[in-house]
């Protein structure tokens, strides 16, 4: 009984792991192919089934007419994601602390309503905002620019940062701030000197979520840019057509998802601790 269960368990784990790994392994092997390795049907093992070549990887960094320019979108993506994440974290942490520690009232609007307002922005389908964003950025002259994208991404990430941080601050006992204020700090001083240094785990989780949603967004990057500015997902998807060589497509896909996959291995301990459970209760 016990052995059957264990056998079944590891078989299931193996099966799901293969499913998870399939696109990565396929992309990896495809990235070393040339036309011969692709057009004859699916091949898997280099040397045995096809002759491996580095061509798919070389065109990524080759500049000029014959390469696919992936370096500039990579930098743009990093700049947009990091700036929007930092702005959202700063504004979100402040707002979350306010919502968690002070009582706000404006007519019938209470703290819980304001918190819900922040969170509810996640319900908004991107397409609903895409058209007004398009017109707004056009009006501001920020269409097709890094600054315009940062502005839009802040709207995307701020609700996430606020949500995670409200939950985090609600679990920090208010006595901590009271102690600091007794020691002669005003609320802002208490926040900066005592609360903030003790909130790094929460900020790390919020920051991680900002990075994931920022780096992986496609829709706004796609609808709000044309030629001058291009973010990474847009650049890779632009390669997605029947004439595209699969090898350079695979190589660019792998380098695009690599940063967050690497981060995943470092933050696993963070994510699969019990902390997350509190956030959605």
């Amino acid at each position: 009984m016990k052995t059957t269960y264990l056998l079944f368990k590891y078989l299931a784990i193996l099966l799901w792991s293969s499913f998870v790994a399939l696109p990565f392994l396929w992309a990896l092997t495809t990235s070393f192919k040339t036309a011969n390795g692709v057009t004859g049907g699916a091949t898997y093992i280099p040397w045995l089934q096809y002759k491996p070549s580095l061509e798919g990887w070389k065109v990524l960094v080759r500049t000029g007419g014959q390469g696919i320019d992936i370096v500039a979108p990579y930098i743009s993506s990093a700049v947009v994601t990091l700036s929007a994440s930092l702005i959202s974290l700063a504004l979100g942490t402040l707002a979350a602390y306010g919502l968690s520690r002070f009582r706000f009232r404006l007519g019938f609007v209470k703290n819980s309503d304001i918190t819900f307002f922040f969170i509810s922005q996640r319900i908004m389908p991107p397409i609903v905002l895409a058209i007004p964003f398009f017109l707004m950025l056009q009006f501001l002259g920020l269409l097709d620019s890094i600054a315009g994208l940062i502005l839009v991404y802040v709207a995307l990430l701020l609700p996430i940062a606020t949500w995670v941080m409200v939950d985090f601050f609600n679990n920090v006992p208010p006595q901590v701030d009271e102690m600091a204020m007794i020691d002669g700090c005003n609320p802002i001083g208490a926040f900066v000197r005592v609360i903030l240094p003790n909130s790094l785990p929460g900020i790390a989780v919020a920051g991680l979520f900002c990075l994931i949603f920022g780096w992986n967004d496609f829709f706004f990057a796609f609808t709000l840019t044309f030629t001058k500015t291009q973010l990474l997902p847009v650049a890779v998807v632009a390669l997605n057509s029947s004439v595209t060589p699969w090898w350079s497509l695979s190589a660019s896909a792998l380098v695009s998802v690599a940063p967050l996959v690497i981060i995943a291995f470092f933050v696993e301990r963070f994510l699969s601790s019990g902390n997350m459970a509190g956030a959605i209760r």
Partner: protein, 288 residues
């Protein structure tokens, strides 16, 4: 008075930014939806409710909506069951625990559109490995992306690959925070593993299950990127979702006014149905 100033220092910057970036554009959309703004005549004229009347008779919009509901609910339920099963598998001791957990999490860290591009090569009917695997089990090759029913299944397959990890993450976190006592009590009563699951684990996990399902439903109701890359809504309109249809009307045909009214109705329907689902689910556990 002084305290008032401090608390506003914390809340207002974020609140003002969010209101400015989201609420004003949204109000503007409401205004645009009453205009005939299109590629020929861009600008705010007054059309009255004509866009809304047209939308009511737009069969393609309602079909996209029902298709979206099917795909969203179907894929989220599959994600929930698989995610729960996987969380139970690695909850207690497992060889290579850390490695297995990270591996199970990895898909949700990857860019959906980029992985969809890779999936499109996998599902390629003659050059991809998907049909190789199908043949390995002795079946006829499948028309992954070229027939209506199959292409819908392909979209769901990719969604399941991408987002089951999210369910897994939340449910594993829930399992790890469960108290120990009910399990000891169940063991003393001599309950077997199946019995323990249905009378201890599952009820204790109900709140977190509902939270996880709701979050995923909210995200799945926006479904469009996977569709855009895998099938472009095709073949025909077989996988066209609401977001994708509005995208075509608004940013490809440039019928801004009409698309604005479509997107507002879509938003209202989503808010109402998600609220109903949330109420029904929480009512169920409140009663039990």
């Amino acid at each position: 008075m002084l305290k008032l100033k401090y608390k506003h220092f914390f809340l207002l910057p974020g609140l003002i930014v969010l209101v400015a970036i989201i609420i004003f554009p949204l109000l503007f959309t409401v205004r645009v939806s009453f205009s005939s703004w299109d590629v020929v005549k861009p600008g705010l004229d007054w059309l009255g409710g004509k866009n809304y009347v047209r939308l009511f008779h737009d069969l393609r919009f309602w079909e996209a909506l029902s298709r979206l509901s099917m795909m969203a609910v179907g894929s989220v339920l599959i994600q929930y069951m698989l995610g729960f099963a996987l969380a139970l598998l690695v909850w207690r001791d497992v060889i290579l625990k850390r490695f297995v957990r990270v591996l199970f999490l990895v898909p949700m860290m990857t860019t959906p559109v980029i992985m969809s591009v890779i999936w499109r090569t996998i599902l390629h009917e003659s050059l991809g490995p998907a049909n190789d695997i199908v043949r390995l089990f002795g079946f006829e090759p499948l028309t992954w992306l070229s027939t209506g029913g199959m292409s819908m299944i392909s979209v769901i397959l990719v969604e399941v690959w991408q987002w089951t990890p999210f369910m897994f993450l939340l449910l594993l976190a829930g399992l790890l925070s469960l108290p120990n006592e009910p399990y000891m009590a169940a063991a003393i009563d001599g309950a077997g593993p199946v019995r323990t699951f249905f009378s201890v684990t599952f009820p204790l996990m109900a709140p977190i299950s509902i939270g996880a399902i709701l979050i995923r439903l909210i995200e799945a109701s926006k479904l469009m990127e996977t569709v855009y890359v895998l099938t472009s809504g095709g073949p025909g309109t077989a996988t066209e979702t609401s977001s994708y249809y509005i995208y075509i009307r608004g940013l490809r045909d440039y019928q801004i006014g009409y698309a604005a009214s479509l997107s507002l109705i879509y938003l209202v329907i989503m808010i109402i149905s998600l609220t109903i689902i949330a109420k029904v689910l929480t009512y169920k556990i409140a009663r039990d």
